[in-house]
Structure formats: C-alpha cells, structure tokens
Symmetry: C2
Subunit: 332 residues, 2 copies
C-alpha cells in the first residue's frame, strides 16, 4: 500500500507529521509519500533513521495555513501539499491521503478541486471516531454540512455503516440518530424525517435516537447527525473534558494533602488520559469523495499522525470508496 502524508499539515509541521510518517513506515512496512516543501522535509527526515523504510518526498511549493480561508485557498494555492497529496490519490499514485491541516480547506480542496464527490453522494461528510470503553464509535457528520436535509443524513448513516463494517470490521453496526431524547419524535424536523426514512427504507441496523450520554455509554456504533449539530456535540464533549480536567488539576494543588493524593494517583490519571486521548485514533475519514482522505487534529503529535495513517490503511483495505460507490442508493 502507498499512502501520501501531508508533511505540512499539523500546527507544528513538519516535525510531528514527518516523525509520525517515519513511525508508520517502520511499523506497517507500507510506502509513504511525504508531500511538502522538499528541502524542509529532507532536513526533517535527517533527524530520523530511515534506513530500509520506503519513504519518498513529493515536492509541494505551497502550504495551506490554519488561517487560510477554506473558501479561497483552493483557488489561491493550487500547489499546496493538500492539492498535490489528494491528486496523488486521484491519479492512483497513492491509495490514501492523510493530513492534520486546516479541516475546512481539506474539505474544499477534496470536494471542489481534486477528488470530487462520488456521483451518488449528495453531500460528503466528515466523520470522527471516538473510543468508548475500548470500542470505536463513528460520528458522521461532524462538520462538513449545516442545515442537512433528511436525505443527506440518510446517506451519512449509510456511509458510516459502510465505514464501520469495512474499515472497523464491525459485523452489524448499530446505527443511531443523535437527538435530545430517545423517543421517536424527539429532535427537530429534519431529525424526525430522517428517523422515518432510516426506519422504513433502509437495511441498516437502525436503533433509533441516541442522546449524548448514550454515545458515551456505547449504545451506538454509528451516530448520525447534521454537521453543525455533530460539531457542537463533539466540541461540547471536548470543552467539558478540558474544563473539568483543568479544575481537578487546580483543586489538587490547593491543599498539600490533596496534592500528595494527586501525586500518588498519577498512574490512575495516566490511564484515564490514555482512554480519552483523541490521538489514539489520530484521524477520521472524509466520506463520500473519490478517494480515502483522513483528517487529523491540528494539534496532532507524531503518534496521532501514525495512528491517522493506520486509519487510512484500514479504510483502504476495507475498500470503503468502492463500497460507497456501489451501495449508496436507497430504494424508496
């Protein structure tokens, strides 16, 4: 397998991006195409022992910055590492592209400038994979679309199901619809209509509405939502986790006995951190375009990049793009 990796993607590029790619090349023996400014990447690669690893640099003269506007960067920087990396996938030179860069830009460049959407797909959708009690939950859409129509959300469900089956190897994923209550009829108009279609017209293992708490209790394998609502939910999880962790840290310092307790409990806290660390998954696919694109967090470290490359491997070996092309029609 040959995977293209954006060397200029993460907030701290190229260091985590290159190191993660080197780790992946060693761990999985796959071929890695590092896309970015040749000189910069060469300098970075020299810090690592890459003897025997299949790593090639593909030059890209431009860089998409986090501050670049997604709506214009597709046009203004046609030689960015994102463009070139995705075109490698389009031309069959690579089987997947992994980036920790500007998410909005990645969506635009994928959908409008390089890979384009699969014809049967109304709207490509961004997924997020979260770990819940050791299992993976695929949330889709978490940010590519707002004001999603029911027929788009039904496709998010179908694509999420394909990803969970083919890449994550779940036998019969429980597909749930994100809402503010379990009962049928909860949620806004679009959710109520999506519920009807999912229940009556698809072959999915549709388990009904799911509340935020039951996402975290593992009651669904694929959680479907409008991109704005999914985004707010994921951001609310992150925000509360970060606020609560900060509060615990500061309160542990406020009296000496608690501080001692905090030190003794370090191993427990480390186990907690590992279990909620988004970098353990590294990235998640943009579903519905003509190629595997895995998008990671801007703050990604090397381990996150390596894990995102592994998500790319799973998506490629599961042949999710072809499955989406073949299986996305809902018969009504």
């Amino acid at each position: 397998m040959r995977i293209a990796v954006d060397a200029m993607g993460s907030d701290n590029y190229p260091s985590p991006d290159v190191e993660g790619a080197v780790q992946a090349a060693r761990m999985y023996s796959d071929e890695i195409l590092l896309v970015g400014d040749r000189e910069t990447v060469e300098t970075e690669l020299k810090k690592h022992d890459i003897l025997g690893l299949k790593i090639t640099i593909v030059h890209a003269s431009e860089i998409v910055e986090m501050t670049d506007k997604p709506s214009v960067v597709g046009k203004t920087k046609p030689d960015s590492s994102m463009h070139i990396g995705m075109n490698l996938v389009k031309d069959g030179e690579a089987q997947a592209f992994v980036t920790a860069g500007n998410t909005g830009a990645a969506l635009t460049i994928a959908m409008l400038y390089t890979l384009h959407r699969i014809p049967a797909v109304k709207r490509p959708a961004l997924s997020s994979i979260i770990r819940v009690h050791g299992n993976y939950v695929t949330m889709v859409d978490i940010g590519a679309n707002t004001d999603s129509k029911p027929e788009w959300m039904v496709q998010f469900a179908l694509m999420g199901d394909i990803y969970a089956r083919k890449a994550l190897k779940l036998e019969r994923p429980r597909v749930a619809l994100l809402s503010n209550g379990e009962e049928k009829g909860k949620g806004n108009q679009a959710i109520q209509e999506t519920y009807e279609i999912l229940q009556a017209y698809t072959h999915l293992n549709f388990v009904g509405n799911i509340e935020p708490k039951d996402i975290l209790n593992g009651k669904g394998d694929v959680v479907v939502s409008d991109g704005f609502i999914g985004n707010i939910t994921v951001k609310s999880f992150e925000a509360f986790g970060s606020a609560l962790s900060g509060l615990i840290r500061s309160e542990l310092k406020r009296d000496p006995i608690s501080a001692m307790g905090g030190l003794l409990a370090r191993r427990a806290f480390a186990r907690v951190s590992r279990q909620i660390d988004p970098f353990e998954i590294g990235g998640a696919p943009l579903l519905g375009v003509n190629g595997v694109v895995i998008i990671g967090h801007g703050r990604s470290n090397a381990q996150a990049i390596r894990n995102a490359i592994n998500q790319a491997r799973l998506a490629v070996s599961g042949d999710i793009v072809q499955s989406i092309r073949d299986d996305l029609i809902v018969s009504r």
Copy 2:
C-alpha cells in the same frame, strides 16, 4: 413575597420538595405555598420543625408524573399541582411557581393552560443557568423550541439579557450566540441571520459567536441558541462530565497506590464537585410567560429546591415579567 412550590415535582417527591421549601421559608422569611396532595404534604411537613415559618398547603388532587406525555397531561390532569401552582401565580395569589417536575409538562401547562405567553413574545424559552468560575451564565433556549427562527432567537437574547440584568444583577451582560466557531458566518443559516439582526438592530452588548469551550471559559453572560441545539450542548456537557468522573473513580480503584491517592485527594474532589454541582443553582426560569416559573431538575435534592426558590425570589424582585412585557419589541 409569596412563592408557590410544587410539592409533587421531583423524582423523589414530596420529601426533597417539602424539605427545600421549609429551608427556604426559614432562610428567606418568605411565605411558601406548598402545592400538592394535602394529606401527603401534611405528613411530610410533620418531619420538620416549622414553628414560626409561613408555610401553607394548597391542595391539588392530581400529580404530573415524569412519564406523563406533555402533549396530553395539560388536558387530562387539570387539577395537577402544576396547574394549581401556576394558576396561583396567574391569580396573583403567589408571585412565582417553582417545580422540579416534568419539564415538558411544565412548559405546556404554563404556555397553553395557565399563564400563557406574553403577547409580544413569539416563543417562550427555557433557560439554564450554569456557574462558570463563580459567575452565572444564562443559556437560553435549552429545550422549549426546535427549528427556531431568527426572530425567535433574537427574542431569546433580549429575554436572557433582561434576566441577567434584572435578576442576576449584571450591569451590561455580554450576549453571545452559540455556534461552532467564533467568526461571523459560522453556524447554520438561522444562526447567521440571527447574528445579523443582533448586531444591527438591537441595543444588546452582543459579542458575536461563542463556542462551547468559551461558554465554559466565561466569555459570555447570556448564550443564545435554538432549544434543540442548546439542549444537546447542555446534555453533552453533563454526559462528558459524568463519563469522565466515572472513569476517574474506576481507575482510582484499579491499583492500591492510586486508591490511597484518591482518598487523600478527597477534599480537592469535593471542591470540584461543589463547583460543577447544578443543584447550587437549583433551577432556571421559563422566560416569556405571564409569570415567574422556575423549573428545576427532576433529581433535585432539598438544597436544589431551596436554591430554585431563591432563583424565583431573584426573578420576582427583578420584575422580569414586566420588563419582558415592556422591552421586547425590536425596532427594525
């Protein structure tokens, strides 16, 4: 001041409801009307020393259960404690009604059967007050309306501002719009339109969009959203808080040194709990009906009920209902 309290509201009624009312009567010297089944409430009151307190029982022969459907209970149980309590407010016998009962039922009974909406108000909205670094943030709407139109959300902003100024005594509340990014243009169509109106046509101290993390960082005093989106956000905060706390508790038990650390850090954990305890606020107003109605959580304990009664006192002394009647017109 005379405040009506639903004695049959909370999940464990009447015990927390009655005890909280007794505490409030003692603490604030206000008159409390306990609304519920006379015999049940009398039996419960006998467990407390109420000598010198101004507590009167108002009999209600029916009880709204948590399992009752909001859409029908308004009609099927006209003698519920909710109906009778709200009618006491309507008739001027009490200045406010406090309930920890079925939220959906309380909304329906208030809006359609007893107090009704204030004529200038398009849609009454449910607020939630959260404590952030010792300050209060008013979120509105968190569940009364879905698919909110921009003009409704503008009114949520105006009502939230009135509440924050008059009841919470903030001088010039920062009003923010819940979205998935700070920049203007983020969010769905309704949010983008609401942004325009709030910025151009209101006198509010509008500070733009706010992300979930910045709610918790205290960057807004009033956070405006559609009720479905506000509900999902609040539920996501609660869900992640609960999941993370559970994970920490179980990991602390998994090795003996961490367990010892957890014991030593008990005081820090207690301080953390107090700071994120929703019962410290107790309840929040339904804004836009002809009377003060404070709705608390079903799981309320006595302290939560007492604090909800205090929220009612603040709303009454701030005269928020008259302010909403007077000040809700947006001139465009």
